[in-house]
């Protein structure tokens, strides 16, 4: 009830249009990984999922931020069922937590940049995604590209502007046998960037 209300509000504000290149329903658990530029990012992805899948799709979030206030604690614990990562706890503990969630049958939403960017540049991915791919090879890694979220709700702002956002769910990528960490992370980042089809102002289209 609260969940669908929040999902509805998130869709209303961002006017988010979801494009699915991969079908929304897969046979295996999924790790949705996306570029990160706004506090609204995770709610936007989550709201774009079919309602029944939302219950089994959990965001990976920083424990220190989401334990900050009673409202955040309530939302994370009771609505989003977030996997809360203790940033001081080290990479192995974090990977174990995420792997447990996947093995328990839940999908994850994560932002491998680790921090919010300015919406133009996507920072290099941190290694969590790679370690997770090694630990749970059966999970599908789905790239998600978020466009305009930094314009809806940029860093440091609390009231969203109704710019139309777009999110694209791409085809899954998988860890190749023997693939080095840096190669997978760069490939994952490229898979997100590839989905960004913003028109280029320098090349006007000729047809109407």
């Amino acid at each position: 009830m609260v969940a669908s209300l929040i999902a509805g509000i998130a869709r209303l504000i961002t006017g988010a249009v979801a494009v699915w290149i991969v079908p929304p329903r897969g046979e295996r658990v999924r790790v949705y990984f996306a570029n990160h530029s706004s506090h609204a990012d995770f709610a936007t992805i989550w709201a774009a999922l079919p309602p029944d899948l939302r219950a089994s799709t959990r965001p990976v979030a920083a424990a220190d931020y989401w334990s900050g206030s009673a409202l955040r604690r309530y939302l994370m614990a009771s609505v989003f069922h977030g996997v809360l990562i203790d940033r001081a706890g080290g990479g192995e503990a974090a990977t174990a937590q995420m792997a447990d969630a996947l093995r328990g049958g839940d999908s994850l939403i994560m932002f491998p940049e680790g921090t919010r960017g300015d919406g133009r540049v996507v920072a290099p991915f941190r290694s969590g995604l790679y370690h997770l791919a090694v630990a749970v090879p059966e999970a599908e890694l789905i790239p998600v590209c978020l466009v305009n979220l930094n314009r809806v709700l940029p860093k440091g702002e609390s009231i969203p502007v109704p710019v139309i956002a777009r999110l694209t769910f791409g085809s899954p990528i998988a860890l190749e046998p023997g693939e080095p960490k840096s190669a997978l992370l760069e490939r994952a980042r490229a898979a997100v960037l590839e989905l960004d089809v913003r028109p280029s102002p320098t090349e006007p289209s000729s047809d109407h």
């Binding site: 006017g15 502007v161 139309i164 006007p204």
Partner: protein, 315 residues
């Protein structure tokens, strides 16, 4: 305000829905007969336009029938969606956030509240004076000086076109019309929207049928001199033929319709130039599945303020 017992309104509505029904039937026949992929695409495009016309006419008809407030709310929503498409299309950044909040959540509602309460003085200067000064002021306080003038002008332009200009259409309800026309101001709004939209459609149809010489191929390959002349002439004649729904005489109505069609044409051309600059085909295509409100009302953005002020000056 308009009500269904007004015979003039009945005739107008009957005519419009009759024309739409005819168009729908013709569209379905053409759909059966189209053989080549190109002609199928043209017919599909036409049928899509007819469908959106049904939606627009029903929504607009209901709004006009239920009186002034519903029309004002309808145009406020149109402004909101248009501004949203405009701002999405242009490139605003984090430094513009506060100014955009003012545009969407203060300037836009305030402008339509002024229409609703009939405060003409402030209605006509709120955006050209106060928002014009406040937007760069806020941007300067935020302190991001990169591209300052371009960013200021972009937001001001969005407000001027999507909010200020469009608000002149429902503002027709405020005009001090001759005594024998009083209570029927809604018809004037109806007439304006009808002439503008017909001019658009007829230019498209004449262009498809006879179009050869392009007016501004780099801006809009679809706009031809043949379409322009045919569409504007027909819209002028239809506007003149509907003079009985306006406070104008037949000749005056023709002049007004010509003015509306010409300014509507300029509006469509200018909005097309912005789209070309941003590298998109139409505002709706910025994001698949989103309406493209600005594509439908681009002509109205220029026609509404011109028609409003000329009518106000002469009547």
């Amino acid at each position: 305000m308009g009500n269904l017992s007004d015979p003039v309104l009945q005739q107008l509505l009957g005519g419009i829905f009759g024309a739409l029904a005819l168009g729908t039937i013709v569209g379905q026949i053409l759909k059966r007969r189209a053989r080549t992929p190109a002609s199928r695409e043209t017919v599909a495009n036409m049928n899509q336009r007819i469908m959106s016309w049904w939606v627009m006419c029903v929504v607009f008809g209901v709004a006009v029938l239920t009186g002034g407030i519903a029309s004002i709310v309808l145009f406020a929503l149109l402004s909101f969606f248009a501004l949203r498409e405009f701002i999405t299309l242009v490139d605003t950044g984090g430094g513009d956030h506060r100014a955009l909040l003012i545009a969407f959540f203060i300037a836009l509602p305030a402008q339509y509240v002024l229409v609703a309460v009939g405060w003409y003085g402030l209605f006509s200067i709120l955006i050209p004076v106060y928002a014009f000064l406040l937007i760069p002021g806020v941007l300067a306080i935020i302190g991001d000086t990169r591209d300052f003038l371009r960013r200021t002008a972009t937001i001001q332009w969005g407000l001027a076109v999507c909010v200020y200009s469009i608000s002149h259409a429902p503002a027709l309800l405020l005009l001090d019309v001759p005594a024998d026309y009083r209570g029927r101001e809604a018809l004037l709004l109806f007439w304006l929207v009808l002439v503008v939209q017909l001019s658009d459609v007829l230019q498209y149809v004449f262009g498809k049928l006879f179009g050869r010489r392009k007016i501004a191929p780099r801006v809009s390959p679809n706009k031809t001199w043949e379409g322009f002349v045919g569409g504007v002439t027909c819209a002028t004649l239809i506007g003149a033929g509907l003079y009985w729904a306006t406070p104008f005489g037949p000749l005056e109505a023709a002049g007004m319709a010509l003015l509306v069609a010409l300014s509507g044409f300029l509006g469509g051309l200018v909005m097309a130039a912005i789209k070309r600059d941003r590298g998109v085909k139409d505002y709706g295509a910025v994001i698949p599945g989103h309406g493209g409100v600005l594509d439908r009302i681009d002509s109205l953005t220029f026609a509404a303020p011109v028609f409003f002020h000329v009518t106000r000056f002469f009547y």
